[in-house]
């Protein structure tokens, strides 16, 4: 990488952080907030990605193996991806959310693997190992230079990430997030205060799935190609590791964890020297990811930024209490 453009390299990393960050937000809603151990992250992601591609790809030619390509505008794809991912989440969640703990984990993992087998083997759907190439990118026509477009795409991804972050944070501190946290903390007590636990869990699960659909649409637009091998379980584990090192239950933590993990991984690409070393470096990325996870859990099990708690600082009516004004801190650990 002699004539590497540092700016482009960094913007690429930031884009990947934004995309994986969206997945980490989604998982934080499901696991960090609602306590659902979902090991099927890559499944909803893949469904969203294929929904995006199949709605926007051109109709199949005689040479291609796929049979669905609706050729619709890209914005339709950006709606289809979260809708399809949410729908698939619903189909998986309806039976699986009756299971608890590790059984839910195994069921979701299995669902994602079955899906991967389908995508790998059904050429009519995914165009086989060739996949789809040269995908259209949003607003690409408005930019003459590919380099400038890459900066634009980074900004677009960050904007989507930011909006989703705002939405999820707002839900987190309101009645919806509060009820989900209560279910995570104690299912029996949540039932005793009249919470329809199953329904709330399904809501969280479907919303989380839909959020990961946005990541999927951005991801395939960024890569401009889609092949089934992009959707291996390593995606799931990467998101989990990012969330655990960042801090479960904390949306900012989820993003910090993603940034740390993706940067650590991408920097190893930066040092690529010879072909011999390349494979060792690729292997060392796996080792680094594993070690970071082991070390964080050992020494900082609640992550870099632990969960925060809601602090009620509004005034108390005087008639009810002679209390001193509470300190304006919003955060306790």
């Amino acid at each position: 990488m002699g004539n590497l453009n540092l700016g482009l390299f960094i913007s690429g990393i930031v884009t990947i952080i934004a995309i994986y960050g969206i997945l980490a937000l989604s998982l934080n809603l499901k696991f960090g907030v609602a306590g659902l151990i979902d090991l099927g992250v890559v499944g909803y992601f893949a469904v969203g990605a294929y929904a995006f591609v199949l709605t926007t790809a051109p109709p199949p030619s005689e040479l291609s193996h796929y049979s669905i390509g609706l050729g619709m505008p890209l914005w339709v794809g950006f709606i289809a991806a979260p809708v399809a991912a949410g729908l698939f989440s619903f189909l998986v969640g309806l039976p699986a959310l009756r299971l608890s703990g590790e059984y839910l984990a195994i069921a979701t993992y299995a669902a994602a693997e079955v899906l991967r087998a389908v995508f790998t083997n059904e050429d009519w759907l995914t165009n086989g190992v060739v996949g789809f190439n040269n995908l259209r990118q949003p607003f690409r026509g408005a930019f003459a230079s590919g380099d400038v477009y890459q900066y634009f795409f980074m900004a677009l991804s960050l904007a989507v990430l930011f909006i989703l972050f705002l939405i999820l944070s707002r839900l987190h501190w309101g009645p919806f997030g509060r009820a989900l946290r209560a279910i995570r903390e104690n299912e029996q007590v949540a039932l005793s205060v009249g919470k329809n636990v199953t329904k709330l869990r399904i809501k969280a699960f479907v919303l989380g799935g839909a959020v990961s659909g946005f990541a999927a649409a951005l991801y395939v637009s960024f890569a401009t190609l889609i092949v089934p091998t992009m959707f291996v379980s390593e995606v799931t584990w990467t998101v989990w590791i990012a969330l655990v090192i960042g801090g479960t239950g904390n949306y900012v933590g989820a993003l910090v964890g993603t940034a740390v993990l993706v940067t650590a991984q991408e920097l190893t690409r930066f040092f690529q020297a010879s072909a011999d070393l390349a494979s060792v470096l690729a292997a060392s990325r796996l080792i680094a990811m594993g070690l970071i996870l082991i070390v964080i859990i050992r020494f900082r099990p609640r992550g870099i930024l632990p969960e925060r708690h809601y602090v009620d600082t509004k005034a108390v009516p005087v008639a009810e209490s002679t209390a001193q004004a509470v300190s304006p801190k919003r955060v306790v650990e």
Partner: protein, 295 residues
Amino acid sequence: MGEGVPRVQYLQYVVFGLVTGTILLLGTVGFSMIRRVDNFLNIAHGQMVALGAYLGYLFYAMIGLPLVVASVLAIASTAVLGWASHRIVFNPIRGHGPLYLLFTSVGLAYVIHGSLEAIFGTRPKAFILPEPRFFSIAGEPLVSTVEIFIIVVAIVSAVALHLFLTRTRAGMAVRAMSSEYDLARVRGINTSRVAALVWILASGLAGLAGILMGIQGTVYTDMGWAIILVILSAAVLGGLGSIYGVMVGAMLIGLSMDLSVIWLPPAYRSAVAFMVIMLVLVVRPQGIFGGVSRG
């Protein structure tokens, strides 16, 4: 889809299924024992299978030791490494709860996977064995010496494990501990020593499973991830913690995977295991042989 396929070929699929099932059995029993004793899903267990396969390859194909010696060495080293992972990685965070143990095992799985890739490279390896002889029925090869060997080794190991668990003091301590951890401690069983024994046994069996996989097919760096998924399926089918249940579960998963080839494209072979598992979880979450172990 079965038209045109000779009847014998069905029998052949049964043989394949038995081979898959018996290898899987060795991997799953250890996984299930660890689940019982330390109460978490050890994702790194699949990498112990891969480790056994690669160490077997190292001692047999690279160094050139006789197969039996190479296997014994590989199994022993895998067992020691499994025990070390228990001592160094898992024991210090026991108090963090099963979920953190599971994630740590994922971390360890990546460390082992990456190490194997760094040392051996990503290209698949094969044990080079003498050409096997085939036993045929009606002119169709039915079962090879290698397949018979694998099945016999696996069954002998399973029986040996059974005798160990039921006839020896140490084995009974393992069983006591894996059914009632607290009770075992109260009754004066040295739980940390028994746990160590379980990890050595489980990892050794995983190593053996890896070697058999190597003998049967190829050795590749992703095999740890591939096998852990099937192990999870077999374990759930048998009722996660029950040692004998998962033996049956492993055989059923192995047979259903290889028999599915009769009706489904072969590429769906491993997906069949996961479909079985989703069905089982939805219909009967405690497994077909397990007691109530939900939650």
